[in-house]
Symmetry: C2
Subunit: 153 residues, 2 copies
DNA sequence: CCGTATCCATTCCGATACTG
DNA sequence: CAGTATCGGAATGGATACGG
């Protein structure tokens, strides 16, 4: 995408993820997909970006296996863009971005949109990181190690 | 940062987060901070990006309240960059990016670095999203609503 | 309606040189 | 070591025009 030092061979999974979706628009398009949008014009109206840029982003997202094109459900001659399993796997990333934004980017008076439990309509909890045994972990409780140094479960 | 349709006033917290850290380098710099790096040259060597770009990114991260500059701990005349509470709040975002990368960007033979429990050195679990009552939620169990339509806990 | 093609300004990014 | 200054090529992003 960008002629930038490629991170796709880095051993760090964060680097590889950012290499694929770490640009300005990809995650916004994926967010729209989770909101049920699937047509070119829906993305374009929702995001307000130039059509050539949108077309390029959709192409790379399809090429990365995050979106796939399917015949339009309404019988029109066109295609729709829907998330693949890999694409749906980004859900925790979007939730984490959302929760960080809620906490640090809204003034007391402002009201963000909320992620709620569909059944009860009550806001979800903050994402939880747990150890293999189920203990809640914060960042200082963790460590990044080369794969070889990890204990196998 | 980029002269792009600004998302900083959007009601969607995802949009606001991406407006602040949704570029190619910011999250990589933050990742390095979590790994204990704090000096200009450490970032530069680790990330391999141009010094002017790094300087610009560090400036905006400080301006956004994600990093702060402190006198160098070793008595040298320079500054170090350390995460603020807001910056440390990005931890779940990095974990989510890491887990998605582990799952979808590594071939069977390749070994990623791993996030482990510091005590046991066993890999952490996948991030869990739970309802207010503690039930595990997947994406289809959730919904995004304007703040007014959410049930107050 | 769904894109592609083209033009243009801006910015990004890398490389290098330079300063305290 | 920690940046700043500058340069050039590449890509972004907005706007518009055009074709199936």
């Amino acid at each position: 995408m960008v002629k930038r030092t490629s991170l796709e061979d880095a051993p760090c999974p964060i680097a590889r993820s950012l290499d694929m979706i770490g640009d300005w628009w990809s995650l916004m398009i994926i967010r729209d997909c989770f909101l049920g949008r699937r047509r070119f014009s829906e993305f374009q109206k929702s995001l307000g970006l130039a059509k050539n840029i949108l077309a390029a982003r959709l192409r790379t997202l399809v090429a990365s296996g995050i979106l796939e094109m399917t015949p339009a459900s309404d019988g029109s001659a066109y295609q729709e863009y829907v998330l693949t399993p890999k694409g749906r796997g980004t859900f925790p990333i979007l939730v984490a971005l959302r929760q960080w934004g809620e906490e640090f980017s809204f003034e007391p008076g402002e009201v963000p949109t909320l992620l709620v439990d569909r059944k009860t309509h009550r806001p979800v909890r903050k994402l939880e990181l747990r150890s293999a045994s189920g203990r809640l972990l914060n960042q200082p409780d963790t460590e990044v190690v080369p794969s070889a140094e990890a204990q196998r479960p």
